[in-house]
Symmetry: C2
DNA sequence: CCAATTACCAACCGTCCGGTCGGTAATTTT
DNA sequence: AAAATTACCGACCGGACGGTTGGTAATTGG
């Protein structure tokens, strides 16, 4: 039992540091030695706990990354009355976190999706599954909004979800090099206008 | 003169193939040898024409990449009467090209921006300069729309430009792994609704 | 026609990286 | 206490990659 605890602790340390460095430098640009040097551990330790670099990364995606996206973007919009307000808030909170992060390098999930596109289908699948969870939850939330009367009945919920995800992926990319505070403000202004539109009775 | 022509031809062949492979596999994942093997050229030929891999890539960005973005997204919206219609068309055309490209790996410029974020400030600057050209042109076009009466006077043109670029960056990322045809349709539907909104008199 | 320049070749170098392996101290099990 | 298992060390290997260099046909200019 004690051994299992130690094992878990070491693995978790490796995953946390791994995610940090992979996020900062990219997967292919981060060597296992980079991670191990940061942790003062040896190659042997790494290959004792994980089968390969790829296996290691997948474990990070399924544990840490999924959790991160879920807690920031999915959980906050589950089962609340006004969907548009709640979605708007979750996005603004995510942008605020990014804005105040001195070491921001973009949307973690989005960056990895771009990096692995066409290079590693297996990892791409794991990443897109997380995106899918968000998408499904957005659609469900929007549909609930129709029932509650917060969202116009003629709105295409899937289309709106796609548009929300697209714009968020993009603004996070822009925020890295641009003025995060200003971009966040302008983005939220337009998003709110867009949300106002799909809450009204006249528009499809 | 003849020599200059041959020089230009070889350099251009290298740049074209280089852009293809960099786009497909990423900058760091593409070796110079990969490019040279494709062209049946030697290392010596490469370092005769270019100082370094980085210098080579920058030349590609400034020549081919700039041209690509300009002809697809900037030129079509310059100096035409109805701005929203023209912007909408340019984006749809770009998405159509991507949709029918079997080897699509996302928005070329967007992918590189993500890949170099925080890794190579110099290259990042060149890439973001291209994005800036697009942004400035979008803003100008939208402002012209105000004068022409196609765009509501109270609209924040910079905000709209940011929102357009964001959503386009994002949808191109989604299209790589998702259903391109469906995503393009849904995206354009929402974009048109959004454009309808900023053309009306009531909204800020 | 000859000298100089151009455009390219191919072997080579130092470094880095993912992964392997033999070993070992500490802990747990029997 | 002996045996077995855990958790980790660090040297090492093969291959790839960016870049260098000495050389050489072909073309060009005087």
């Amino acid at each position: 039992m004690e051994k299992t605890l130690k094992r878990m602790a070491t693995m978790h340390r490796m995953q946390t540091t791994g995610l940090e460095l992979f996020y900062k430098n990219g997967y292919y640009n981060t060597s296992i030695d980079d991670i191990l040097t940061t942790l003062s551990l040896s190659k042997g330790a790494f290959y004792y706990h994980f089968q390969s670099k790829e296996d290691f990364f997948i474990s990070i995606v399924q544990n840490l990354l999924f959790q991160k996206v879920y807690s920031m973007l999915v959980a906050p919009i589950e089962g609340v009355e006004n969907p548009l307000h709640v979605i708007s808030n979750s996005l603004d909170n995510a942008l605020e976190t990014a804005e105040h992060n001195e070491l921001d390098h973009g949307f973690v999930l989005g960056n990895f999706i771009v990096e692995f596109n066409g290079k590693n289908p297996e990892i791409s699948k794991y990443l897109n599954d997380i995106l899918k969870v968000w998408e499904v939850n957005l659609i469900t939330t929007l549909q609930r909004g129709k029932i509650n009367g917060y969202v116009n009945r003629h709105v295409d919920c899937e289309g709106v979800a796609t548009y929300i995800i697209s714009s968020y992926l993009g603004i996070r990319t822009l925020m890295v090099e641009g003025n995060p505070k200003l971009l966040r403000y302008k983005y939220m202004q337009q998003l709110k206008g867009y949300f106002k539109m799909i809450s009204l009775r006249e528009v499809a």
